[in-house]
Amino acid sequence: MLKRARGLWAWLLAPAVLIISNQTMAEEVERWKLNMVEGVTPISREVYGLHMLMFWWCVVIAVVVFTIMFYSMIMHRKSRGVKASNFHESTVLEIVWTAIPLIILIAMAFPATTSLIKLYDTSEAELDVVITGYQWRWRYEYLDEDVYFFSNMSTPREQIEGLEARGANYLLEVDEPLVIPVDTKVRFLITAADVIHSWWVPAFGIKTDSIPGFINEAWAIVDTPGTYRGQCAELCGRDHGFMPIVVEALPKDEYQQWLDQKRTDLAEIRQLTEQTFEFEELYQRGQQVYTQWCVACHRADGAGVSGIFPALIGGVSVGPVEGHMDVVVNGVPGTAMQAFGEQLSEVDIAAVITYERNAWGNNMGDMVQPIDIFNFKQND
């Protein structure tokens, strides 16, 4: 904080700083980000151009209006001994200042319309990615590739609470980024599982609402490999500020390698379902799963939030195992509790249930194996 206050001061003294050190100044300017990014897709560049065009039009209009006003304020003040005129009507003037803005607006409408038509052209995509918004994470599914995964924010709570130094990508980092190939027309099919979210990556010029029950489309051709970051843009509940988006654009061959690797990983996880685990293994894994998936609502100490998110101390955690599995797998309709049956693997569900039944003094002493979850889903 102190450092920023000093930075603030430096900015106020900018001219002096400029003389002292050109480099400091350059760093300061870099830090005080103030404009839209130009981005790396045809749409984002188009939008950036439009934004700058509109901005300069607005500057011109503001300068004209403010000049007239300041001229009057300086020249036509009573203290200079001027006498007020009495004119108060002019049809010609009224027509002029209705017509000129109208012409400017028409001039603005042309580029805006052509850009919008390009923005809406999602045809001939080479790759389709289904994006589903959840409270508070994103799910990415590569259509026809049998690859899907969830993407959670990976910034540790300690950084948010100020107990640790904040990383370079504070709040803008995830456990598994979306990976797409460069120079490929990617179509995003965007929907939601619970409330409305909005998938926004500034560098792509894409912001599209993800709405439960509906599918929206957007597209991008990324021409520069790199990592691009964005955030959910529509208020979606408690952790709206903590569901970032990270997209990695890879060269085509590296993308293919990644995709193959991902398929193998998913197959391995499916195999784990058939294994039997020790209690300690499940408990440890369960704790990790809980921290990643459950902690936002039910809190680290399992106490929940009174009136909204039920406590897991006692309650369902000390009831019958089937009831516990039902809540986690199928969710609780009409509440914020989602159905995790599709979101988590059998191993992870078994682990987190085992953890919840034995943590925070629940001490039920029982455990659930992945195969139990598999059977529960089959009979469900």
Partner: protein, 516 residues
């Protein structure tokens, strides 16, 4: 019938006097302005630096929601109704409002609505946390229990607004002094007449929206649930069909106030009176055709996007006419810069900035980047704070001598202006940059790249908030210790209200005045 006010509390509870009711509206709105301001300062305190320091994200969401609701329905709207109550009868030479008992009722239900709304903060699960726009399904399936109290409170506020609007229309159309033709009415009366019609059209739409939310949360319907055949986007269409005219409800009366103040201190008649009336009417009409520009990213078909983009851009024309008319009124006048004039000039300039960023937002493809970022927050605060709010403060300074019979302290008034002006620009201007750099709105924590702008905004907010305490002091100081005001008060002021003594007697124009 000419008797004085009753004594004690009964005067205020049972009054049917437009001046008493106007004063109560104004004091109530000031109280709500302070409450909403405290909520805003809690938000700004949390956003002072990155990280979560002060409040839980869920409470943060309650604060942003309540700040919006309290400021829109508690501070801005009642203040304009209060000004209408005080000034419309005085401006058109009427003895009182047309429906005085309903007038009393429409005020007195308001404090209870807000008591109920604010009490939700202390309920289990907390108050409304879904934004003042309460998008479904966040406000239905995923809402805290207290949502029904929010709905009931909104119903009462709506009823109050509708009654106020009916009263104003009835008064303006029936109670004008002989000779006060429509095209002789002061612009404040004109803008309020048009606003009243907007209110009557859209408040029932809001009532419908909250009722559907109630049905979805408590009676198992699926208006806004795709799984039951409903549509969450339909909620947004209904809400913004109310919401966009609502924006103009909060700015049209402000246009009327500014059109009264600038001619007074420029000592020159308002330029283009009739074009001002027509511009107001066209803005009101266009306001019904632009609602979906709040929804450019919901996936509308391209034809819809284009329609709402063009219609929105068109609003710039009548709005521009107004700004040019005010500038032309100032041109070749003989200006002095008392406090109301300072606020009025700041209104024209800063509202223009808000209008220009509005024009940028109207461009649909660019809006995909601006939407739901701090750029939008900056935009609408520039039209609501130096717009609506500054006009109300300007009106308070302008007419306070007429209401209380006493002058405020000019030095303190100007101090209030400059502190508020600096504070407000420090608060809201950096939000443009934060938004363009990529900061979404309604988030309790953010990346370090937004840290500097946010720190400036928070400091500015504190300065702006503090300046309003000074405002309270100035008003109280004027009422109790101010110098006696003349009837004319301002050298260049024209209109029926200035023909009355200051303070305006409890009953005025019992006999209609003569209109030249």
């Amino acid at each position: 019938m000419a008797h004085g006010p009753a004594k004690g509390l009964r005067r205020w509870l049972f009054t049917t006097n437009h001046k008493d009711i106007g004063s109560m509206y104004l004091w109530f709105s000031f109280a709500m302005f302070i409450v909403g301001g405290i909520f805003a300062l809690i938000v700004r305190a949390e956003l002072f630096e990155p990280g979560l320091q002060i409040v839980d994200p869920n409470f943060f969401n309650q604060m942003t929601t309540m700040h919006g609701l309290v400021m829109v329905f508690g501070a801005i709207m009642p203040a304009f109704v209060g000004l209408a109550n005080w000034m419309i009868p005085l401006m058109i030479g009427a003895p009182d409002m047309a429906l005085p008992r309903m007038n009393n009722w429409s005020f007195w239900i308001l404090p209870f609505a807000f008591l109920m709304l604010l009490s939700t903060l202390f309920m289990p699960g907390g108050g409304p946390n879904f934004g003042w726009t309460f998008y479904a399904p966040l406000s239905t399936k995923y809402a805290p229990e207290s949502v029904i109290f929010f709905i009931f409170a909104v119903h009462i506020m709506g009823a109050s607004s509708i009654m106020g609007a009916i009263n104003i229309i009835a008064t303006v159309l029936n109670m004008r002094a002989p000779g006060m033709t429509l095209m002789k009415m002061p612009l404040f009366v004109w803008t309020w007449l048009i606003t009243a019609y907007l209110l009557i059209v859209v408040m029932p739409v809001l009532a419908g929206a909250v009722t559907m939310v109630l049905m979805d949360t408590r009676f198992g319907t699926s208006f806004f649930d795709g799984a039951g055949g409903g549509d969450p986007v339909m909620f947004q269409h209904i809400f913004w069909f109310f919401g966009h005219p609502e924006v103009y409800i909060m700015i049209l009366p402000a246009f009327g106030i500014i059109s009264a103040i600038i001619p007074t201190f420029a000592r020159k008649p308002l330029f283009g009176y009739s074009s001002m009336v027509y511009a107001t009417a066209s803005i009101a009409f266009l306001s019904f055709t632009v609602w979906a520009h709040h929804m450019f990213t919901v996936g509308m078909p391209i034809a819809g996007e284009l329609f709402f983009m063009y219609a929105t851009m068109l609003i710039a024309v009548p709005t521009g006419v107004k700004v040019f008319n005010w500038a032309a009124t100032m041109f070749k006048g003989a200006m002095t810069f008392e406090t109301p004039m300072l606020f009025a000039i700041a209104f024209v300039m800063l509202f223009t900035i808000g209008g220009l960023s509005g024009l940028m937002l109207a461009i649909a493809p660019a809006d995909f980047q601006y939407h739901d970022t701090y750029f939008v927050v900056a935009h609408f605060h520039y039209v609501l704070v130096p717009g609506a709010l500054f006009s109300i403060i300007a009106a308070a300074y302008y007419w306070l001598p007429k209401w209380s019979g006493r002058m405020y302290n000019e030095v303190l008034g100007k101090t209030h202006f400059w502190v508020a002006f600096i504070g407000l620009n420090l608060t809201f201007f950096p939000m443009h940059f934060a938004g363009l750099a990529g900061m979404p709105r309604r988030i309790p924590d953010y990346h370090m790249m937004f840290a500097d702008w946010n720190m400036i905004s928070s400091i500015g907010a504190l300065i702006f908030g503090a300046s309003q305490i000074l405002f309270l002091y100035i008003v109280l100081d004027a009422i109790f210790r101010g110098k006696k005001a003349t009837g004319q008060v301002w050298e260049g002021a024209e209109g029926l209200e200035w023909t009355l003594p200051s303070p305006a007697p409890y009953h005025t124009f019992s006999k209609p005045p003569e209109i030249k």
